[in-house]
């Protein structure tokens, strides 16, 4: 049975000071520009760990850096490669459940088959201390990907914020030994603590505002495939910038290139790459087997939500919601899932959308021109009209509901969909 303890918030800093002695401590810190990012802590006295929100980037770069020197090479006499020296051990503190889940996925990628020595030498020396999310944020959907808001495993320690104290649970033997090494900071868990924690976990689970039906999307893709119009629409909106892959905590594709330092010396660098870049698959001579852009998007979304789902029985999306805010064109996992899930009702949707559009224009809530645009959007994207109108602030949910209720009242009865005929 793994250990459970309580640590008072006042004791957290002294505990981290002890734990991270001789290691690099990484924790969420708000920088001078107001961005909350996982950063290296140089001084616990001068940097404030901020656990109030989800960091804007994941912890991916600390195990798989955006740009990393693998070797220095010398080609003066012969051609010799010198591997990078091992760094210090690392304590990753304050990781959100999505970010820990993403590390577990990276473990599969880099340690399953041929092992990646450069990943392993960092990973083996990394302690992970997570914090469950009492309140999901606006774009979060880890409930749908089963990667949060609290985890059952994958961490050394997981904290739950109980107000003036944290509930601390160990997730593996190393977590237990951390708790045993510094008993002065921890006190036993009471029944009240357990009850409070249980309640917070339940509340967190019911706190999601965004519904991204990842499971239904997988089933739909498996059974019905994906309508070509979805790929075409997404490709029109995608600039191939790779931002979604860079921000994604589970995107692990990379390129390797040489950077000369002198005629005789240079560095071999590994850098993040993205499957949405046109050059990702093109070869010397110009042939590109994955072209045009819709093929690249197909590969990206199906890798995460279909092929990985088939292989690992879960998607390689951890529901962190970060790609939902990063794309100029709104081409994110949320939109894709929504389009896949709603595409099968397209014809019905069209009819109801046109009826709804008529009612709203008649009620004087939206002018005809705006409605035409919204209708076009509905048909192109396969997203319900009501959602488009509400999302763009053209009507409120209440207005929408009232208009529909009036119509239903005037009809005198509701014909339940799916039960007729």
């Amino acid at each position: 049975m793994l250990k459970k303890k309580i640590i008072k918030k006042d004791h957290l800093k002294p505990f981290l000071r002890k734990l991270s002695k001789g290691s690099d401590l990484i924790a969420p810190v708000r920088n001078e520009l107001g961005d909350l990012l996982y950063q290296k802590i140089y001084s616990l006295d001068h940097q404030e760990i901020d656990l109030a929100a989800q960091p804007q980037e994941s912890a991916k770069p600390f195990l798989f850096p955006q740009s990393e020197r693998l070797y220095t090479y010398d080609c003066a006499k012969g051609y010799k490669f010198e591997p990078e020296k091992d760094g210090k051990p690392t304590v990753l503190f304050g990781l959100r459940s999505c970010d820990i889940s993403a590390i577990l996925y990276m473990d599969v990628v880099f340690m399953r088959g041929p092992k990646d020595a450069h990943y392993i030498r960092k990973r083996d020396k990394t302690i992970i201390i997570g914090i469950g999310c009492n309140q999901p944020w606006e774009n979060c959907f880890c409930n749908a990907t089963k990667t949060g808001p609290f985890l059952e495993f994958g961490f050394d320690l997981q904290l739950t914020d109980l107000g003036d104290r944290y509930f601390v649970e160990s997730g593996r033997a190393r977590g237990d030994s951390i708790l045993d090494s510094w008993p002065q900071f921890f006190s036993p868990v009471t029944e009240e603590d357990k009850r409070l924690r249980y309640q917070l976990v339940l509340e967190a689970r019911s706190g999601f505002t965004r519904q991204v039906h990842v499971d239904s999307a997988f089933k739909r893709i498996e059974q019905e495939g994906v309508s070509p119009s979805i790929w075409e629409y997404l490709a029109k909106r995608c600039d191939g910038c790779g931002g979604c892959a860079y921000i994604c905590p589970t995107c692990t594709c990379f390129t390797i290139y040489d950077s000369p330092l002198s005629p005789d010396k240079g560095e071999r660098i590994r850098m993040w790459d993205s499957c949405t870049h046109i050059g990702f698959t093109s070869m010397a001579g110009g042939h590109n087997p994955v072209n045009p852009q819709k093929d690249r998007l197909k590969r990206r979304f199906l890798h995460k939500l279909y092929y990985d789902y088939r292989e690992f029985k879960r998607p390689s999306c951890v529901g962190c919601g970060r790609c939902l805010g990063i794309c100029f064109g709104g081409v994110d996992i949320g939109l894709f899932v929504e389009m896949v899930c709603s595409s099968h009702k397209e014809p019905v949707e069209k009819e109801t959308s046109i009826l709804l559009a008529k009612l709203l224009v008649e009620a004087g809530l939206i002018d005809e021109e705006t409605m035409q645009k919204a209708l076009k959007d509905t048909i192109n994207r396969g997203i319900p009209l009501g959602k488009i109108l509400v999302d763009n602030g053209l009507v409120t949910r209440k207005q929408l509901a009232e208009t529909l209720i009036q119509e239903i009242d005037s009809l005198g009865k509701i014909k339940s969909p799916g039960k007729g005929a």
Binding site: A117, E224, T255, P260, T281, M283, A284, P289
Partner: protein, 293 residues
């Protein structure tokens, strides 16, 4: 995900320190000029122990490092039946291959591998082999043909159909002459465009195929060349009654690691570098079926 034939094992040379991305030093022992854009480099590994333990089969590829240019996947063009250094036949196509073409005897390269799944030479024993290659596509097939020639009693027959753009583009001339003299091998050449003095066949490689009789019970075809050639030849062979499982090809992709990590060669849930690059057409059909409608 895909059933791997028993006799094909993933072949990963793991250096002593376990770092799969670390290249080993090698030297260019010799250079054979094959045509105006293709050269064959004879490669010797510096570390005698590594050279000793370096084993491969036709169809394997290595990651080649060129100083300041990075790495590229190149298939081995020599046969493991021939002792000593191995060969890489390289067409000058881009930045890295141009740099290799500018190198001379005694220059240094980095080598990782061999990687991938090779041609199923064991399963092909006692069969009539039809090898169809276009341009540089003969490079991996050179390994296959020399392997068969050196184990001639194991294979029923070998017909090579080799297409080039023009007579002066015909590469591997020394090999072709040797094979022409060997009783196992029937060499048939064609060029897209003739030049003065050319008395041979003119037309696409598919036109050579018209005269070939195919028996699915005894024939296996091995294809390598531009994608459009592979598609056309594969279709024609199937029209002649050859089952997709008896048509084998090797795919070329952008690869950065060669070991299924970097993601560049990912396709419908598999990695060309480690699940291939050699596939039967039935395997490729199955991979295509992985993709949802």
């Amino acid at each position: 995900m895909m059933n791997q034939p028993q006799h094909i094992k993933n072949n990963h040379y793991t250096p002593n320190n376990g770092d799969m991305l670390l290249p080993s030093e090698a030297t260019i022992k010799d250079i054979i000029i094959e045509n105006s854009t293709i050269k064959t480099f004879v490669i010797g590994l510096t570390d005698p122990q590594h050279a000793q333990s370096f084993s491969y089969m036709p169809g394997h590829f290595v990651m080649v490092s060129v100083p300041h240019q990075g790495e590229a996947p190149i298939s081995i063009s020599s046969s493991p039946t021939q002792q000593g250094p191995f060969h890489l036949s390289i067409r000058k196509a881009g930045r890295l291959t141009s740099a290799i073409h500018n190198m001379t005897k005694g220059d240094f390269l980095g080598i990782r591998g061999p990687y991938g799944r090779p041609f199923p030479m064991k399963a092909l024993e006692n069969r009539d082999l039809l090898i169809v290659a276009g341009g540089i596509g003969l490079a991996p097939m050179r390994s296959v043909i020399n392997y068969c020639v050196d184990n001639a009693s194991q294979y029923s027959s070998l017909t090579l159909l080799y297409g080039s753009r023009s007579p002066s583009d015909i590469a591997f001339k020394a090999d072709l002459e040797q094979w022409e003299r060997h009783p196992l091998v029937d060499v048939r050449l064609t060029v897209d465009v003739a030049e003065p003095g050319w008395n041979g066949h003119v037309g696409l490689v598919t036109s050579l195929l018209e005269d070939i009789e195919i028996n699915n019970q005894s024939h296996s075809a091995l294809l390598c060349g531009p994608p459009i050639m592979i598609d056309a030849v594969s279709q024609m062979l199937q029209d002649k009654g050859l089952e997709p499982e008896n048509i084998i090809t090797t795919l070329e992709r952008n690869m950065k690691c060669g070991i299924g990590l970097c993601g560049h060669c990912y396709m419908n849930g598999i990695y060309i570098c480690k699940h291939g690059p050699v596939f039967t057409m039935s395997q490729l059909n199955e991979i295509k079926r992985h993709q949802p409608k």
